[in-house]
Structures are given as structure tokens and as C-alpha cells.
């Protein structure tokens, strides 16, 4: 995957988040403040508009900086900063092995900056297991990623706004875990 291919994927996430806005908003309305759908849509609309190309690391960095500037709350900066950090390890032509390395950096960044670990009903639950998924199954299929997000449904949130809902946060998939499915799916598409 070179810079052009990666740019195509990042631009493609605009239409994904246009389509999934109401789904993410619905989840976030249950256990958060209801702005995750519109935030992700705004973020990737900005990426579509502003990120214009370059090498793969450059595209990652531009995407990250754009997400950080265009989305408020915690998830936007976490995604944005993770893209910036992934650009440090990405090669100009990203292969499967390099993608695993990037996903590890993605997980480490979210863990350290979001102060989060596994099982706390967050985007980390999907991100942290995706490198392993790629290693074991050789691909990042949408169904497999969705299964990881599904696991957050029965978890009780202890981080972020959802933590205020305590036991009541059970029964809803974490909105950040859901948006992570789409982002990681886009990164892995065509890498099988």
C-alpha cells in the first residue's frame, strides 16, 4: 500500500462516516453525549477536503493532524494523534507486517494517551486486538472486526463519559469501538 492507495482509503472514510453517522450517534446517545457520529463525520470530511497526498507516512501524518484539529472531545484527538504516531513507523510501501507494527503503535498510543486498558469498553478493545487478528487470520475482515466491537456490548464502562452510566452502560456497543472497526477495516482493505 503506497501513499496514493492510502489516500484513497482515507478519503473513502468520508462516505463511510457519512453513512454511519446516525448509527454512531445512536450508540453514543445511549451511553455518552451523542456527538460521536457527527464528530467522526466532520473529521473525515475535513480529511477528504484537506489531505491531498504524498508518501504513505505523509498521508498518515496529514490525516492525523487534520483529525486533531477538526474533532473535539477525546476520541478525535486520540485517533488523530495515533495517526501521527503511526506515520513514524509506516514505510513508503506498507505491507502486512508493517501494518501489524502500525496497529501496535495505534494501540500503544491510545493506551498511553487515553489512560486505558483492555476490557474497559473503549475503542482500545478493538484496536488492541486487531494486530493479533491480522496475524492469525491474515486479514482484517469487517465481520471479524465487528465481533471485537460486539464484545464491548457486555462490558461496563470505566473510562470516558460512558463511565457515569456504570451498570447501565451494559447492552450497548461502545461508539468508539464501533468507529475503530471502520477505520481499521479501511486500513486493512486489499492487504489480504
Amino acid at each position: 500500500m503506497n501513499g496514493d492507495k492510502l489516500l484513497e482509503k482515507m478519503h473513502g472514510l468520508k462516505s463511510v462516516f457519512d453513512e454511519k453517522e446516525s448509527e454512531l450517534t445512536g450508540l453514543d446517545r445511549e451511553i455518552g453525549d451523542g456527538d460521536h457520529g457527527v464528530n467522526m463525520k466532520r473529521g473525515f470530511s475535513a480529511v477528504h477536503e484537506k489531505v491531498s497526498g504524498g508518501t504513505a507516512p505523509e498521508v498518515l501524518k496529514q490525516t492525523g493532524m487534520t483529525l486533531m484539529s477538526s474533532i473535539g472531545g477525546a476520541s478525535g484527538p486520540l485517533y488523530g494523534f495515533s495517526f501521527v504516531k503511526m506515520s513514524d513507523v509506516a514505510k513508503e510501501d506498507i505491507d502486512k507486517e508493517n501494518l501489524m507494527e502500525m496497529l501496535d503503535v495505534f494501540a500503544d498510543t491510545v493506551a498511553s494517551k487515553g489512560k486505558v486498558e483492555g476490557g474497559e469498553k473503549t475503542m482500545y478493545d478493538v484496536i488492541s486486538k486487531s494486530a493479533e487478528l491480522l496475524k492469525e487470520s491474515g486479514a482484517l475482515k469487517l465481520d471479524d472486526l465487528q465481533a471485537l466491537a460486539q464484545e464491548t456490548e457486555d462490558m461496563i464502562a470505566t473510562k470516558g463519559r460512558a463511565a457515569y452510566f456504570k451498570e447501565q452502560s451494559k447492552g450497548t456497543i461502545d461508539p468508539g469501538a464501533q468507529s475503530a472497526v471502520y477505520i481499521i477495516h479501511a486500513l486493512g482493505e486489499g492487504m489480504e
Binding site: G72, G73, A74, L78
Partner: protein, 120 residues
């Protein structure tokens, strides 16, 4: 000399804290920013903009929630020549103490030690 940087979820808190501490420490350089898109929030961009203006080693103060995360990210991406410290002290009391200590000539490391004693 040490500079002070304040990032808050609220423009009024940022400006109010700056006004409060400037009165006590007129010579101390204080940058303050708060709020996002006319509402409540913080962004990495507004912190980056302040960090671009830094001329000396700086102690940074934040208020709640994601302001700390955004501040940490901006500090980690900073590639300027000055040392940036993030203080865990409460935004008003901490920045007030730092500004007053700075105005009487206390070194940055000693200010940081004093701030340690008033963690959130």
C-alpha cells in the same frame, strides 16, 4: 524566567485566571486559551498555537478531562528549543503560585517542586 501557559475548557476561566495572576505578577509571560468553537472544549491546535509563541521554559496548567490529554499530545509533538513542564496543580492556585514565584526570581525547578506539594 519561566513562562506560564494555561489551557481550560472555558474561555472565561482561561481569561479570568490570566487576569487574576497578571495582577500579582506583571512581568511574567502568561499565555491562556480556552473553549472551542465558541463553546466548551479544548483542542490540540490552540495549544500548538500557544507553544509556537513560547520564548522560555514553560510550566503548563490544565483544568479537567481531555485538556490534559490534548496538552500531553501537543507537548509530545513540540519540536521547539524550550523545556515544557506539565503541572498537575489546580489551574488557578497552581498558575498563581508559579507566576508569583517567578516574579520574585525563583528558578523553574524550584517552582515545580513547590507545585508538587499542591497536586489535584
Amino acid at each position: 524566567m519561566t513562562e506560564i501557559l494555561i489551557i481550560s475548557h472555558s474561555k472565561d476561566i482561561a481569561e479570568g485566571t490570566r487576569a487574576l495572576i497578571s495582577q500579582m505578577a506583571k512581568d511574567t509571560v502568561i499565555q491562556a486559551s480556552g473553549g472551542m468553537d465558541g463553546g466548551i472544549g479544548t483542542s490540540v491546535d490552540q495549544i500548538n498555537d500557544m507553544l509556537d509563541q513560547v520564548q522560555e521554559d514553560t510550566i503548563c496548567f490544565y483544568d479537567i478531562g481531555s485538556s490534559k490529554m490534548n496538552l500531553e499530545m501537543a507537548v509530545e509533538m513540540y519540536d521547539g528549543n524550550h523545556t515544557l513542564h506539565i503541572s498537575e496543580a489546580p489551574i488557578v492556585e497552581g498558575s498563581f503560585l508559579a507566576a508569583v514565584e517567578n516574579s520574585v526570581g525563583t528558578e523553574t525547578t524550584q517552582i515545580l517542586e513547590k507545585l508538587q506539594e499542591m497536586k489535584k
